[in-house]
């Protein structure tokens, strides 16, 4: 190559090199340009809402601007638009709108999620309002004309029946130039899971997907469920925090991909710990490599019911109309195609009413199949032996509670009522009724929930220990005292003696000499011998 040729090649290569350097500079500029979220898309129909509400409720608009909805142009009217004639609708700045956004509204885009939720146990949370819990909130703790305990307490989780104030002629009272319907303040604001909405839908997506950012990280985080699943009667969040799962979550929260857009799959997007959503709702990577299990039907993987006095395994009976019911394993199962008497709960004049109707069975998911689905999640981290043995431990605890305490206590309460010693119209008149209530509704549930989620202290000290102590030291003495007071001691004293004569209660009559000596020696070894 001649010298001139070399010079030309050097010049050409220098240009290439400079070009490459420009690319380096461009990449550097890109790296240091704040990525930032894409801006909110305000469509024409929403422009007026955003402009005005930026002034009147600036944070609300900011929240929406930060949401995924805003990034894809889903705006105010897409959720708040109402049809003329709907009870909650009013004409606002030229548009028919409603303050209430119900699952039916969300289902316009999220149809699958809405259908799954509508059939779920969560959607039926408002259907327990005719319960002893409500007697306690409305009657024992409340007073005529003031339902504040239930409104601020029970209904904020279970959901209210949203109602409006009415005029003397029974019409919805409206206010202002736009004739906005006046919502009964005892029924809204409310984000209860089983809220019964004016459009007949049940539930509130906002219960988990807080407005107006609708951040997925909130619904994935255990604290979200802990708003309701906590406290003396169902301390799931406390149990979770005590469990190895909760410990792992809190230590590794930053590795949980809670912020991830789109799907959130165990074994693919995260593995550090399971949250409530992981086990009960979210998808997971199965051994086949498929993602399965993603469903808003929260109870699909539950095989025991741990809420009633006596726990039972539960089958899921699914009907052709999409409705489904949990059937205890003590009830004979129907076959697909069978007509079954069922009940439809709905709101009428602000009250919950139950209408009997016949439904046709589509299929049945047995408790074994539901458990298998839950095990699928467990197997993402644990082996078969581990999972099977856990379920053996859990099952044994529930059986222990059922057989030793719950069934005998329930039988005693049933007999006291049948024999007229207790009046079903006064469910909390006698001390034994309060004791029995707490025995199963608080302490018994704590023990069962503790075992179900591997919370040792809730299983024992907050659970079975309290059950045993109050069964022996409060419940049975109160039964005896009631019977004596009502002149039925002759029947009840031998009956209670017969109960305590059973093998599982034999320990009350004392330990063997050998057991007592071993116990004393153990305490002396641990804490020192008592001074002479």
């Amino acid at each position: 190559m001649s010298l001139d040729a070399k010079r030309i090649v050097i010049a050409v290569l220098s240009f290439f090199f400079l070009g490459a350097l420009l690319l380096v500079a461009w990449r550097e500029t890109l790296r240091h340009t704040p990525e930032g979220e894409p801006p909110a898309i305000v469509t024409g129909s929403n422009q007026a809402c955003v402009t005005c509400h930026q002034q009147h409720s600036a944070s609300l608009v900011m929240q929406w601007e930060d949401s995924r909805h805003a990034k894809v142009g889903i705006g105010c009217l897409d959720c708040h638009r109402a049809a003329e004639g709907e009870p909650d609708a009013w004409r606002h700045e030229g548009q028919w709108v409603s303050a209430l956004v119900t699952p039916l509204d969300c289902g316009g885009c999220h149809a699958k999620e809405q259908q799954e939720f509508a059939r779920s146990h969560h959607a039926k949370a408002g259907e327990i309002l005719a319960s002893l819990d409500n007697v306690l909130a409305e009657r024992a703790a409340g007073m005529p004309g003031n339902n504040a305990d239930a409104v601020n307490g029970c209904l904020q989780c279970h959901g209210s029946i949203i109602d409006f104030e009415h005029d003397g002629e029974g019409r919805i009272r409206r206010t202002g130039a736009e004739k906005r319907p006046v919502i009964d303040p005892n029924t809204w604001p409310n984000s209860g899971m089983g809220r019964i909405n004016p459009d007949g839908s049940k539930g509130s997506c906002h219960a988990c997907h807080s407005r107006h950012t609708f951040d997925a990280k909130l619904s994935r985080a255990p604290e979200n469920c802990g708003k309701c699943h906590m406290g003396p009667d169902h301390p799931q969040i406390e149990i979770y925090n005590e469990s190895k799962h909760g410990i792992a979550f809190h230590a590794n929260r930053h590795e949980m991909a809670l912020d991830k857009d789109g799907s959130w799959i165990l074994g693919r997007d995260y593995s550090a710990a399971p949250t409530c959503a992981t086990c009960h709702i979210s998808g997971y990577l199965a051994a086949s490599g498929e993602v399965i299990g993603n469903s808003h039907d929260v109870g699909e993987r539950i095989s025991w019911t741990l809420r009633p006095v006596v726990s039972t395994k539960i089958h899921l009976v699914r009907f052709e109309d999409g409705y489904q019911e949990n059937w205890p394993d003590t009830r004979p199962l129907p076959a697909p195609g069978d007509a079954v008497e069922s009940t439809e709960h709905h709101a009428k004049d602000g009250r919950l009413v139950a209408t009997p109707l016949t439904r046709r069975v589509r299929d049945v998911v047995t408790w074994e199949e539901r458990r298998s689905a839950m095990k699928g999640v467990c197997l993402s981290c644990h082996n078969h032996t581990y999972v099977d043995n856990f379920y053996t431990q859990f099952d044994d605890l529930v059986v222990l509670y059922n057989e030793k305490f719950a069934k005998p206590a329930q039988a005693i309460m049933d007999d006291l009522t049948r024999e007229g010693l207790l009046d079903p119209k006064t469910p909390f008149a006698e001390p034994v009724q309060w004791t029995f209530w707490e025995l199963w509704h608080h302490e018994g549930r704590r023990a069962r929930h503790g075992a179900s989620m591997m919370g040792p202290d809730y299983t024992h000290w907050h659970g079975m220990y309290e059950v045993a102590k109050h069964f022996y030291e409060k419940f049975l003495p109160q039964v005896e005292e009631l019977a004596a007071r009502k002149g039925a001691a002759a029947t009840w004293t031998p009956r209670l003696e017969a109960l305590l004569a059973r093998e599982e209660h034999a320990w009350l009559r004392g330990l063997s000499t050998q057991e007592a000596r071993r116990l004393q020696e153990s305490y002396e070894h641990r804490y020192g011998a008592p001074e002479p």
């Binding site: 010079r7 490459a20 690319l23 380096v24 240091h32």
Partner: protein, 350 residues
């Protein structure tokens, strides 16, 4: 202008005519072929390494708690930090390739023979130095793979006869790879190896100038005796400049297209399921897998010593066993093919 020239002549008492004469050193005609410029290529890359290395040292923190973080900060936050790191990474890899190719060229053209045996030895030491640079530099990143790679390498060194345990202890700063090791590798990488390399380069280049470049005649040049050489300046300097610009272009393209990744931070308590060194040690790793620790280390040592002393060994074999000198070519081909086979095997088998 005249005053400036006088000032320079007075303040720099250099014989400019002599300097011009040095620049006009006749260069053999065959150096017009690019593969005869493989000696200048690693030198050029070494300069790149020195410049980028100094800049990287501004940001690197040789502390086990901060090393990985400082590399991460350099890669993700520091302006043009990723480019600097990528240049350093790719120049290191290209330098190893260039040194190996230079060594092969010298070997297969017989340029290591008398009177240039000593320069061959310096060259082999320069290769060892380059590999040492690569190994210690990679370890400084302090990611899982480099940490555990260093652990395996230390075990290999420990298995060397006689000096093995002492060398391994010196290298690790103890009986295990710890924070001490990182500090030592840092000192090796920015102190010991650069000094050694600079000294060896000086000796190597001085000997090249003293001996002159080995003359090679190609068959088609036999009838062109008049073109046996050409002046270093400007012809060969232009070739070197051309190669320099080309290298910078290649390095920049590689930095843009394949910037070095940063693996997870080293965790001395968690052994990764799969450990692999950088590609230039694949041969050693494959040998280790094929044989035992002792065998692979001894074999590597013997082959290394043979390469180092080959000009003298070849002489001895020729004199004592009448080994034809062409046999070196066959042995060289076999040796290089062996190296390639082990490297490719390891890269696929992993």
């Amino acid at each position: 202008m005249a005053r400036l020239r006088r000032f320079l002549t007075e303040t720099l008492p250099v014989d400019w005519d002599q300097l011009r004469e040095l620049g006009a050193e006749p260069v053999p005609h065959h150096l017009k072929h690019w593969w005869w410029c493989l000696g200048g290529t690693p030198l050029y890359l070494f300069v790149v390494q020195v410049v980028t290395g100094i800049l990287l040292t501004f940001y690197y923190v040789p502390d086990p708690d901060q090393a990985w973080e400082s590399v991460a900060r350099l890669t993700h936050e520091v302006r043009f930090g990723w480019y600097l790191r990528a240049l350093h990474h790719w120049a290191a890899n290209l330098m190893i390739v260039a040194v190996m190719l230079h060594l092969l060229r010298v070997f297969f053209t017989g340029a290591y023979r008398h009177p240039r045996q000593l320069n061959w030895c310096f060259g082999v030491l320069l290769l060892a130095c380059t590999l040492g640079f690569g190994f210690t530099g990679y370890s400084l990143v302090y990611e899982q793979m480099s940490f555990w790679g260093a652990t395996v390498a230390a075990n290999l060194v420990e298995a060397m006869p006689l000096v093995g345990p002492a060398a391994a202890t010196l290298m690790r700063g103890g009986s295990e790879v710890t924070g001490n090791t990182l500090t030592r590798f840092f000192v090796f990488h920015i102190g010991l190896f650069p000094t050694a390399m600079a000294a060896l380069l000086l000796l190597h280049l001085a000997l090249v100038r003293l001996h002159g470049v080995t003359r090679v005649r190609f068959s088609h040049e036999d009838d062109r005796p008049g073109e046996a050489s050409f002046p270093f300046w400007p012809h060969h300097a232009a070739t070197e400049l051309l190669i320099g610009v080309l290298l910078m272009y290649i390095l920049t393209v590689l930095a843009l297209a394949l910037p070095p990744e940063l693996g997870p931070k080293a965790d001395p308590l968690v052994t990764p399921p799969h450990i692999q060194p950088e590609w230039y040690f694949f041969f050693s790793f494959r040998l280790l897998k094929l044989t035992s620790l002792q065998t692979s280390v001894h074999l590597t040592l013997v082959v290394g010593l043979l390469i180092f002393a080959w000009p003298f060994v070849e002489d001895l074999l020729h004199r004592w066993l009448r080994m034809p000198r062409e046999a070196s070519v066959v042995l060289g081909v076999l040796g290089f093919l062996g190296f390639l086979t082990l490297t490719v095997w390891e890269s696929f088998a992993g």
